[in-house]
Assembly symmetry: C2
Homo-oligomer: 315 residues x 2
């Protein structure tokens, strides 16, 4: 009789204050995960992946991106995937749009949720968007305005929040100012990204407190951690303790980090679910179905999942 027969961790609510009773898992595997895998996954495989994530109960599934196919060939089939997607009532299927042209394609495809991807640092804004931080807001402003007036919800990603590979540390004021600009522009949620995975829990607490001190409700904040240095779940726990209730994660830990040499990318949804289950935090996701899905996808990609839970539970 092995560990796998225990199935789930013991439920013990934290006796410490602050931890929310329910968390929304924002599944980024189909978009952020597959975008950063070197293989191009066939559209039918993506659709089966999305169907499986639906069946596993994920409440938000970031589906694809309308970035130019030359930049991200992995997601060149965005329109086709959205056309074939079986939407489940109550589930949100946001799509990344890099600019007005991307938004136009997203609107044509009938999406109701979009996300834009901004940088907290000039270095990354230049490399990713060929613009400075200030200039990216000029680019995003008409995109967000048009999306909001079309009735869409817009999420703002802010990347390099906890460190930048070219600049090193990033000033908290700079992060809060950039994040507030995205919210004031019309984004209803801000996802704070540790794009290179360097953050530690004290930094997470400090940044979240600075946002709250600047008048931003913690309900509008999400966290997006990468596990490059093994810190993603410790940082997530620190964020939960600050009241954050939306956490980004990628099924099976799909997606490497393009700016780090490590094999590990996004926080694995399964590792997050294990912790939430143990903490008695509701999330609505079926861990076994999710592990099955990630095991299946790992076979498609021909390499093992970096998720500890997937490795431990997969038979």
């Amino acid at each position: 009789m092995g560990v796998r027969e225990i199935g789930l961790p013991e439920v013990t609510r934290s006796p410490e204050p602050g931890v929310p009773e329910r968390v929304t898992i924002w599944e980024v595997g189909p978009r952020d995960g597959l975008q950063n895998e070197s293989d191009v996954v066939p559209s039918e495989t993506k659709l089966e992946f999305l169907n499986r994530l639906n069946a596993a109960g994920l409440p938000v599934i970031e589906t694809t991106s309308f970035v130019h196919p030359e930049w991200v060939p992995q997601l060149a089939d965005a329109a086709e995937v959205l056309d074939g997607l079986s939407r489940k009532p109550g589930v949100r299927y946001p799509v990344l749009v890099p600019n007005e042209r991307g938004l136009h394609r997203a609107l044509q495809a009938g999406v109701e949720d979009v996300a834009i991807f901004a940088s907290a640092t000039d270095s990354f804004a230049r490399r990713n968007l060929n613009r400075r931080v200030e200039e990216q807001f000029e680019m995003f402003h008409p995109v967000v305005r048009r999306a909001v007036s079309a009735g869409l919800r817009v999420r703002g990603y802010l990347s390099m929040v906890f460190g930048d590979p070219w600049e090193g540390p990033v000033a908290v004021d700079q992060v809060v100012n950039a994040g507030r600009r995205l919210l004031e522009m019309g984004c209803d949620q801000l996802s704070l990204g540790d794009t290179i995975g360097v953050a530690t829990p004290g930094q997470v607490e400090t940044v979240l407190r600075a946002f709250v001190a600047a008048g931003v409700s913690v309900d509008r904040l999400a966290v997006h951690f990468h596990d490059t240095y093994g810190q993603a779940l410790a940082n997530t726990y620190a964020a939960l303790r600050q009241g954050v209730s939306t956490v980004d994660a990628s099924a099976g830990g799909l997606g490497g980090c393009p700016y780090a040499a490590s094999a590990t990318g996004n926080l694995a949804t399964e590792d997050l679910v294990w912790m939430l289950d143990g903490l008695g935090i509701k999330h609505g996701v079926d861990l076994k179905m999710l592990v099955d899905t990630s095991t299946w996808m790992a076979e498609r990609l021909g390499k093992p999942s970096p998720s500890a839970v997937v490795r431990a539970l997969a038979l």
Copy 2:
């Protein structure tokens, strides 16, 4: 220019109360790590490993075990390793002793620190020691008494504290009672082990608070987490927040878990150091030298280190 040139995370003390200013890293790689690797490492390699850990600044290095060579052939050379060990002033080199015979051999080898390994559950006590929980104390009592009267420091490991593969959840009272028995017997420190890696942070907080409520000073408690389900560092952070200042870890994450199917075992010392560095917690360990050591040992074992930090930083 890559992440590796940043070298270290940004230092940000946690604004939350409770986190200690200094942590003692109790390195278990040479004992707990190598004991659970399937390969038997040559004594000369072990001695070079110990020398490298010394050079990297580890303050406590659990060196080997005087368990019967038939049970753990990986550590059959305990006396030889201790004979060849270059002791560094101020560093402790504890050795595991399973029983009186083991203690006798340890005393002959001139050790000053020993550790005993007890179970919080009957199921594991039976399988590991062929005794019930109550009977193991009868076995350990003369060992601890004799060690203490010989002037040795004795650490008590308590295993299966957060879950047992045969029994499932373990009652907190049962854990506290077993732990107190070890301390009252003469152990100066108690290491609380999540032997199968199932714990989550709320459970860690609850168990630690229960010990403190029962009159045990948090200074006498250490934590020993396995990363089987990816939870080790989040649990460590929860323990630091409760004031724990001794943390067990294994260089490079050496050592699988013999009772789980997963590839991952002990918390990797490097991943712990990254978090402590980011939190501004002193520990005295040189991360680069440690990564070099684990990279070197991974080559000896012919398989990559499971440590995220080792994978990300190794050139």
